[in-house]
């Protein structure tokens, strides 16, 4: 009987005295082992830490240096910059390049259009994606799975560049501002990210609202949307970055309409003149033929103007895109 009691105590931590003694001894032994262990690993551990640090520092430098170099060039005097040899700090400080960039006619128009399409495009796209995701994620909706399949297919099959281009032509989207907004409004990938998030919300919320007589629209606006704020922020960020950075649509559909040019397309025109030249037979010396080519300082200034808004915003939205990617990437 006593044996049994002791056994019970040992197993379930009832008898403190004995357990303490045992564990203290054990802890000592464990500590000794652990100490030995860490000591043995120290040399390798340190080697690893040092190599790792070197790798990550190099990685950071490779990532950051070209960007900083561009900034340095943009603040350098135009003629002086052509000589090269500018690294992290301008040699002859000047903000002339920026005033030159702002005087390029297309650049200001492009900036206006880009800001407009980013704001309007993000807003409409967020509403459309959220609404579609809401419908697909309703568990009782009759056409739930067929509607979902209908959109998943669009992720993998598309008509290709030429049929799409002709379609936009027939719809009179070509040569208008709306070609930036309307066709890309729904993105199946974003819808799937939103859907996954909405499906994870508790079903009881919707049910209790329904008992109170709320329709689906009310549920969407008053109940689901406030809970989806983080994932809405993620999608808004994705769409905004995409809108801000796209240039190909401006080139393909609005090449002839200079009033609908975008910032990135203007930048592309500036940079492309130089890039094409590297391919010429004596592409080594860009200095001799720099007349038709935009000077490096102006190109750099234009680049900085184009990238600054996004660089300023993204560090503050980190946690949003991390959650969004994790949902979309693993489950999507």
């Amino acid at each position: 009987m006593k044996m049994k009691k002791d056994e019970f105590a040992l197993n379930y931590g009832g008898s403190h005295g004995q357990e303490k003694e045992l564990s203290a001894e054990e802890v000592k032994a464990l500590k000794r082992m652990a100490h030995k262990h860490t000591k043995r690993m120290d040399a390798w551990g340190w080697a690893f830490v040092i190599c790792n640090t070197i790798f990550l520092v190099l990685f950071t430098i490779v990532t950051l240096y070209p960007v900083l170099n561009t900034v340095a060039y943009s603040f350098n005097d135009g003629l002086d910059a052509v000589r090269g040899g500018i690294y992290l700090w301008p040699r002859k400080f000047s903000v002339e390049s920026y005033s030159k960039v702002l005087n390029i006619q297309g650049f200001l128009v492009g900036a206006k259009i880009t800001v407009l399409r980013t704001l309007l495009g993000t807003f409409t796209s967020l509403i459309a994606n959220a609404l579609l995701a809401f419908i697909i994620s309703r568990k009782r909706f009759l056409f739930r799975s067929s509607l979902s399949l209908f959109w998943v297919i669009t992720m993998y099959v598309n008509g290709g560049m030429i049929p799409v281009m002709l379609l936009y032509k027939y719809l009179h989207l070509t040569g208008s501002f709306w070609v930036y907004i309307v066709p890309g409004m729904v993105s199946a990938f974003n819808v799937m990210v939103l859907r996954t998030y909405m499906e994870d919300l508790p079903m009881e919320l919707e049910e209790s609202a329904q008992l109170d007589g709320a329709g689906y629209i009310t549920i969407f606006i008053k109940i689901i949307s406030p809970l989806c704020k983080p994932v809405y922020a993620t999608i808004a960020l994705f769409v905004a970055v995409w809108q801000w950075n796209s240039w190909f649509d401006a080139m393909l559909y609005n090449r002839m309409k200079s009033e609908y040019t975008t910032l990135q397309y203007e930048l592309m025109k500036l940079l492309n003149s130089v890039m094409q030249q590297s391919g010429s037979a004596n592409g080594n010396n860009t200095t001799t033929t720099s007349k038709q080519v935009t000077p490096v300082s102006v190109r750099s200034a234009a680049t900085v103007v184009t990238m600054v808004p996004i660089i300023c915003i993204y560090p503050f939205l980190q946690r949003y895109f991390v959650t969004g990617l994790t949902i979309g990437g693993v489950k999507g």
């Binding site: 490779v62 950051l64 070209p66």
Partner: protein
């Protein structure tokens, strides 16, 4: 199309009813809600006698009447989305007919001359292959001549080659970066490095290509370093040598996307149960051991799923960098299918040829997805669909 009809019909019917008898509906909905609630209670009380599926079935049966009316608003919005999807995603598929016609804008899709597979024959120039095979008698050398002489075949090689190279390099770099970053104990440093690593993802390809170009130019940092170590005496023009083009494109992709792609792996690593590491430590595993036996196996499902997804989009990756960094001297290795489509379909306004090339790309992409997905299924991993 059948779906669309269904949506439109039921949607429209729902709408009229909803408008005319809004009040009645409301009353019915409340009554219905009461029934549902009662049913839920009943189901709860009799839990032992009914299984989950039966409860589900019962509640579904009860809900359907009033619920259908409530759902009319969903149906209307769903129908709008279906119409939108048909217009912008499914209608262009009808344009594939162009590939089998001599399409002219004037005559349109309905009255253009039908030419069968002529456009595909023009693209692939099978005659060249046959002729080479006849003259040399060796299938490999014939293949080589074919690739060297036919532009479209070369673009296929470039697209798949660069796509695969980009995929492999970005994948390996992202995984290595995630694992190494995870080993950093200093929280501030870790956060700083990670924040900086995202930066290039937010830059457009135009900016990235401009930056890569400037770094490799005669006054750029790479040539400065090469000159400093006397590896070259005069600056080296990387963009004039075809051999450098693929590595440059791969590096651009690695530079832009490593930090971004690592996000998912870092999240997967964070989700690993710490007790596994403790157990490994007690068993005497060092840093490498823990990475090799705990971290890598734990994130391998994520790796496989992402790999499958990316193989499907392999052909899509080959456009912007190649278009922006390519030039006359390296066009044999830089042109991809998309650039071919752009040159012929937009530049030469041969819409039929452009469409044909696009179709080929889509078909290959779908094949890639299906194959990789079935491979994953065979391996016993969770597949995409």
């Amino acid at each position: 199309m059948a779906y669309e009809d269904q949506f439109v019909n039921s949607g429209a019917a729902g709408e009229t009813e909803y408008n005319s008898q809004a009040e009645v509906n409301e009353a019915e909905a409340t009554a219905d809600a009461y029934v549902v609630e009662n049913y839920a209670k009943e189901a709860y009380e009799h839990k032992s006698s009914l299984n989950d599926e039966q409860i589900k079935q019962l509640s579904k049966k009860r809900i359907s009447k009033g619920e259908l009316k409530r759902q009319s608003v969903l149906l209307i919005i769903g129908a709008i989305f279906v119409l939108y999807g048909i217009l912008f995603y499914y209608l262009p598929l009808a344009g594939w007919i162009m590939a089998f016609q001599n399409f002219k804008l004037k005559t349109g899709l309905l009255h253009s001359k039908f030419v069968g597979f002529d456009k595909f024959k023009f693209m692939f120039e099978f005659d060249t292959f046959e002729y080479a095979l006849e003259t040399s008698g060796n299938i490999f050398s014939a293949f080589k001549t074919w690739i060297n002489n036919v532009v479209f075949v070369r673009t296929i090689r470039n697209t798949i080659g660069m796509g695969a190279l980009n995929l492999v390099t970005t994948f390996i770099m992202a995984i290595v970066f995630a694992i190494l970053l995870n080993e950093v104990k200093n929280k501030l440093g870790k956060r700083l490095v990670q924040t900086i690593s995202y930066l290039p993802h937010f830059l457009s390809w135009i900016i990235v290509c401009g930056i890569i170009h400037d770094s490799l130019s005669s006054t750029g940092i790479i040539n400065d370093v090469l000159r400093f170590f006397h590896i070259v005496d005069d600056s080296y023009n990387f963009f004039a040598h075809p051999a450098w083009f693929w590595p440059i494109v791969a590096f651009s992709n690695v530079w832009k996307e490593t930090g971004w792609n690592a996000i998912i792996y870092l999240a997967a690593i964070t989700a690993i149960d710490p007790s596994l590491y403790e157990a490994a430590e007690i068993d005497g595993a060092g840093r490498w051991g823990k990475i090799r036996y705990i971290t890598l196996p734990s994130i391998s499902p994520t790796i496989v799923i992402l790999l499958v997804m990316n193989i499907g989009f392999l052909l899509n990756a080959g456009f912007e960098v190649q278009y922006l960094l390519g030039n006359g001297l390296v066009q044999d290795v830089s042109q991809t299918i998309d650039i071919y489509v752009l040159n012929w379909g937009v530049g030469q306004t041969d819409y039929s040829l452009g469409t044909a090339a696009g179709i080929f790309k889509s078909v290959v992409a779908i094949l890639l997805i299906v194959i990789s997905n079935s491979v994953v299924k065979k391996l016993g991993q969770e597949s995409l669909f």
